[in-house]
């Protein structure tokens, strides 16, 4: 079994300030973890992915996330928010096999809406 909890349904920041979106996961297996972003009326875009390699994962648009097994967390950060970052963000878990390949269903968190103020 696997589940994801995104600890904040809404996060509001000012442009140029840091972003922190929090995610805790639960998995009976070795997990693969993802962050996806969804802009209004658009599909899901992959920001970054963890698959048992380096615990600090760098993604697109300056985002990064750190996998902390002891805390079962995978928080998403960005040093300086941009207006274009305003969107909904989803933390996602799936199962990884021994080789680190992820497969099977994706389990999504409820999402965090990020608002960026000028």
């Amino acid at each position: 079994a696997q589940s994801v909890t995104q600890l904040d349904s809404h996060v509001s920041v000012s442009e140029g300030t840091p972003v922190l979106l929090r995610c805790n996961y639960s998995s009976s297996y070795s997990p693969s973890l993802f962050w996806y972003v969804q802009h209004p009326n658009k599909g899901l875009q992959l920001l970054l992915k963890y698959t048992s390699a380096a615990t600090l994962v760098k993604g697109i648009n300056g985002f990064e996330a750190e996998f902390k097994k002891s805390e079962t967390s995978f928080h998403l950060t960005k040093p300086s928010a941009h207006m274009s970052d305003a969107a909904e963000y989803f933390c996602v878990v799936t199962r990884a096999n021994a080789g680190g390949t992820s497969y099977g269903k994706l389990t999504f968190g409820q999402g965090t809406i990020l608002t960026v103020h000028p």
């Binding site: 992959l46 989803f90 390949t101 992820s102 269903k105």
Partner: protein
């Protein structure tokens, strides 16, 4: 390189009707998954197809069925539509062997009235 293509983009149906949604996976991908995203919620897994077989299924009733064709494209069929089936339906493709995540289409917005 085309990504995941879904059709139609929007659809309005009446309760009790049947609907078919279509998905063409990204080039090089052979696995297709379908997700339902209700308003204000995260996507929920419906099922996954690989080699024209349903490999895994989420907690959805039998009214939801699918198919995968030899060219890896896929259809999602929903029978006896309910108002609660109104949602964004997302298709995601991936490669069984390669390992870099899942590519999502832009979705089909289904409204049941």
């Amino acid at each position: 390189d085309a990504g995941v293509t879904q059709s139609p983009t929007h659809l309005i149906k009446t309760r009790g009707q049947q609907v078919t949604l279509r998905c063409s996976p990204k080039s090089g991908h052979d696995t297709v998954s379908w997700y339902q995203q209700a308003l204000g919620q995260g996507p929920q897994f419906i099922f996954q197809y690989y080699e024209e077989e349903e490999r895994q299924r989420g907690n959805f009733p039998d009214r939801f069925s699918g198919h995968q064709f030899p060219n890896y494209s896929s259809e999602l069929n929903v029978n006896a539509l309910l108002l609660g089936d109104s949602a964004l339906y997302l298709c995601a493709s991936s490669a069984e062997i390669a390992n870099y995540g899942y590519t999502f289409g832009s979705g089909t917005r289904l409204t049941v009235v």
